[in-house]
């Protein structure tokens, strides 16, 4: 069992709480760095896709998990980032500039989409973002001059200073670098004043307001930041897909992102990563499942969506804190082994609390 015994003030807000964590995360990073050297191009390609989804999931987690703003339309920001990036590349903007610019464009769209958040919250906000993403999908389809419409748009091979990033292994390192940067930036942001303001708005708007936090500005800013990160993921996604069409960014992608955040566990960066990994592995798991099932059931196409729904329902009903919460429980069990009390994480009795009048 580990005891937190702080001898210095700074230990209270350290990036990682325990020295052992530095070792653990270092080993994980080293493993991720070695993987491309020992595995096939196909596997590395799939792995880069998982990393991209992690970035997108972190973007949504920042908004939903930390600021408490529901968004059911984050695929639109992925799309805006992807198309913005591809368009900038087609205009001859170098890759190294196009990537942050695409994130900025997406952040601008996020600020726009965040304006309704000033007036509405909860279910209403979910509906606004849902409607926004459908509108964006349609606009992309109609705006042929920039996006190529429903015909699609080819994404140029990225290169930095003459070195091509086209090979899957080089691209993997790029994705890994961006994921680590985003993760560090968010982890630092969330323990700064701005991050505390986000959490404050999530937990009680009135209390945050009373403490002098500009709730409206925080909400819209959170939308912008989240959209920017998701747009960055979109720009990387553009290279992974290679050929952009509007139907790559439908409602299902939005719902997948929400699934990642919820299954991972609301309000934790680790959860966003765990959720993204689990959801991106789900199709492979279903493919394995199909080998076991009888032929007549395995042929049907609805199995994947059914399993996704079942997993989500399972987590909402039995583990609302998500994978991260389950991990914390397992860790506590291991650390306190003979002394573990089952009631440590027992949920309090919840009473019906109306959110009708929010």
């Amino acid at each position: 069992m580990r005891f937190d015994y702080h001898t210095r003030y700074r230990q209270g807000f350290a990036l990682l709480k325990h020295p052992a964590d530095w070792v653990n995360y270092g080993v994980l990073l080293a493993a991720l760095l070695v993987v491309p050297l020992v595995s096939s191009n196909y596997f590395v390609g799939e792995l880069s896709y998982v990393l991209i989804l992690c970035v997108a999931s972190l973007g949504l987690m920042m908004l939903s998990g930390f600021t408490g703003q529901i968004s059911l339309g984050h695929a639109s920001f992925v799309a805006i980032g992807a198309y913005g990036h591809a368009w900038l590349l087609a205009q001859g903007v170098p890759f190294i500039l196009a990537l942050p610019l695409a994130a900025l464009i997406s952040a601008g769209a996020g600020l726009l989409a965040g304006i309704p958040a000033i007036r509405v919250s909860g279910l209403y906000l979910a509906m606004v973002t849902l409607a926004f993403s459908i509108v964006v999908e349609q606009v992309i389809g109609m705006w042929r001059g920039v996006t190529g419409g429903f015909m699609g748009m080819l994404v140029e091979t990225p290169s930095i200073a003459g070195i091509s990033l086209g090979s899957p292994k080089v691209f993997y390192y790029l994705c890994l670098l961006i994921l680590v940067l985003v993760l560090l930036a968010l982890a630092n942001l969330l323990r700064s004043g701005i991050g505390r303001a986000f959490t404050g708005v999530r937990d009680s708007e009135a209390a945050a307001y009373a403490l002098g936090i500009e709730v409206k500005r925080v909400k819209v800013g959170a939308f912008g930041l989240s959209a920017g990160i998701t747009g960055l993921a979109g720009a990387l996604m553009a290279h992974h897909i290679g050929y952009l069409t509007p139907d790559a960014f439908t409602l299902l992608l939005s719902l997948d992102l929400v699934l990642m955040v919820v299954i991972g566990g609301m309000g934790s960066l680790r959860g966003a990563i765990l959720g993204a990994v689990l959801i991106s592995m789900l199709p492979n798991a279903v493919a394995l499942l199909k080998d076991v099932l009888p032929q007549s059931m395995a042929r049907q196409s609805g199995l994947e969506i059914f399993v996704a729904g079942a997993v989500l329902a399972f987590f909402v009903l039995f583990e609302p804190t998500g994978l991260n919460g389950r991990w914390l429980k397992i860790r506590a069990l291991l650390e306190n082994f003979p002394l573990y009390r089952r009631d440590t994480f027992r949920r309090q009795k919840a009473y019906m609390k109306s959110e009708r009048n929010r």
């Binding site: 309704p116 209403y124 509906m127 926004f132 349609q138 719902l255 049907q300 196409s301 989500l312």
Partner: protein, 294 residues
Amino acid sequence: MSPALELFSQLTVNGIAVGAIYALVAMGIVLIHKATEVLNFAHGDLLVLSAFSAWALIAGAGMPFWLVLPLVAAGVGILAYGMDAVIVRRIAGQPQFAGVMLTIALAFMLRGLVQMVFGTDSQSYDTPWTGGSVRILGVTVADLSLVIMAAVFLIAALLWVFFRKTRLGIAMQAASQNQLAAHLNGVRVKRLNSLVWALAGVTAAVAGIFLAPLTLVDTALWLITLKALAAIVLGGFGSLPGAVLGGILIGLIEQYAGVYLPDGFKDIAAYLVLIAVLILKPNGLMGDAHGRRV
């Protein structure tokens, strides 16, 4: 009648017919939301399920339409009752977001099941009114549209009477206003909430059976949930008359946008209305204003 006016009246009739379906779906969602504060994203998939079941019974088993309608409505009603009693009831007391996620999960499962059982191909079936049409005041109206309008307004009227005049309806109103007070007065709140789900399931089934012959029996029909959400927001959240009014207005707006606005607006008109209403007038047309509770 001048061509422009004729076009306009034709659009109006079509809009009301489509809007009536939106209104029916919207009423189902509002019923559940008023009773249990759960926004049911699985409503559209109940509709898809009933459309496919009706297709299997009419086109596959050759049963008459009038037998299939009550059969499917009862079946989906029982399914909806079970969904609440077994699954959704468990998350009472958790934040609204949990309800959204759970109904999305249920929607995924229903959609997957429908695809596994009935396949992914689009289907169609005939009703007693398919193909016929009448001319009223120089406007051609399909018989099916007339029947749909009549059915929707009949259901709306029945619901109105049910909630005003019957013990069960008044108990439902009481439970939706204050669950604890209703419980203390001897209302069996849990069972009542499941009954509301069943009632909403029946409206979804009727909507599905009547909508499918207008378009096609297809899993994409669930998207009507989103149109119904626009209708609910426009009409004012949590108001049944508002849902009917909003549904018909959304139907009309869509039809007009398809002709009088540039290409592509028809598909997003409903969503633009939703965004605009929520920014400008979040209470909708008939919603009651209430303050923010701290």
